[in-house]
Structures are given as structure tokens and as C-alpha cells.
Symmetry: C2
Subunit: 117 residues, 2 copies
């Protein structure tokens, strides 16, 4: 991953509201949660939340799909995994095999099939 993307993802997560939203979506799994429902849970105006979701989405950390009138957001586990890998890949004098094999971008956080976008 390029550092530019890593910074974008880190920035997206570096805010109380967005981090809370992201964690909620991470917990929610593949089913996801509608934008309105998220706003309701956090008592946030819908337009404010929409801006937050756009930032997370542009960073590749969440995805969305329309379902009727609602737009359902889900966490992108792959995007998260790539970031975790980037943060640790060159640890220990460039010998990532020591500490980060389990963090490889292909090692999905959730069981296969559960986190397909």
C-alpha cells in the first residue's frame, strides 16, 4: 500500500465519531447497518453522519449498497487488513515474517464468506 492511502485511512479513523461508526460496522458484519439507523444510534444529524460515511468510504474502509430507500453500510475488512499490514510490515529490521505473517492483506479478519464485499 502507498503511504498516501494509509494516511487517508488513518485520517478517516482519527475522529471519535467516525471511529465509533467504523467499530459499529465492524461488529455488525456483512449484514451492515442503514445510514439512518446509525445516525439514530449516535443521535447525529443525518447530513453530518453522511459526511462521515463519505470519508470512511473514500478511504476504502466501508462500502455501501442500496436497499429500498435505505443505504446500507458495511465495513471493508480487506481495507482494514491492508492498513494493519502496512503499519507492521517493516517491523523488526525488515523481517516481517517474524511478527506479521498473520497480518497479511489476504488473511481476512472474518471467516471467508462473511466479509465479501
Amino acid at each position: 500500500m502507498e503511504s498516501e492511502i494509509a494516511v487517508k485511512r488513518l485520517s478517516a479513523l482519527a475522529q471519535e465519531g467516525r471511529l465509533a461508526v467504523f467499530k459499529l460496522l465492524v461488529q455488525a458484519g456483512a449484514e451492515g447497518i442503514a445510514a439512518g439507523e446509525i445516525a439514530r444510534r449516535f443521535g447525529m444529524p443525518s447530513n453530518t453522519l453522511s459526511a462521515q460515511l463519505t470519508i470512511l468510504s473514500n478511504a476504502g474502509l466501508v462500502a455501501s449498497r442500496r436497499e429500498g430507500r435505505s443505504i446500507i453500510y458495511t465495513a471493508c475488512y480487506d481495507g482494514m487488513g491492508e492498513l494493519l499490514f502496512y503499519l507492521t510490515e517493516e517491523c523488526c529490521q525488515g523481517r516481517p515474517e517474524i511478527c506479521a505473517p498473520f497480518l497479511s492483506p489476504t488473511a481476512a479478519c472474518c471467516p471467508p464468506g462473511e466479509n465479501d464485499r
Copy 2:
């Protein structure tokens, strides 16, 4: 970890310059690198770098020790590990054992003894 600390750490890493400095220190290991040497490598004014290091330090991502006239900075692998754990701990419907056992705060990124503060 409290979300406030997570946000602080994410914010600290969410900037090109600081992320590069942090990765450099992660690669450097326990030996660390002097502030001046870091500034030289990145062609950064010393006061600008100092501000960046202060932010990383306040976030608990780097530590420093004085050695003669120089101040040596090192990565805090534990602080990093805690953050990674926080980001993944409630993944998969609150069953972290599925995806994050290897990310536990006690699972050091580097071999034991190499990353003691």
C-alpha cells in the same frame, strides 16, 4: 483502550511526515535514531520534526532517551499493538478469538527483549 487514546494514536499516524518517521523508527528497532538524524534523513527543519515527535510521543507511539547531546527516539511497539488490538477487538460479532488472538496487546511485534522500553 479508551477510544480517546485510539483517536490520539490514529491522529498521530494520520500525517505523511509522522507516519514516515514512525515507520522508520519501527524499522530501526530498540536502538532508535537521534532526532537530528531523522530530520536530516527527511530534509525537515529540526523544529518541525520536533513538533511531530512530540505528537507521536504524547500519543504513546514513541519514547525517547537522552544520549549525550542527542535525544534518541524509539518506537513503542506496545502502544502500536494496543491500537491494532483496539481496531480489531470487536470484529465478527464480538468474537475476537476468531480473528484477533494474534493481535493481543501482550503479543509483542518484535521478539521478546528486543522491544522493552
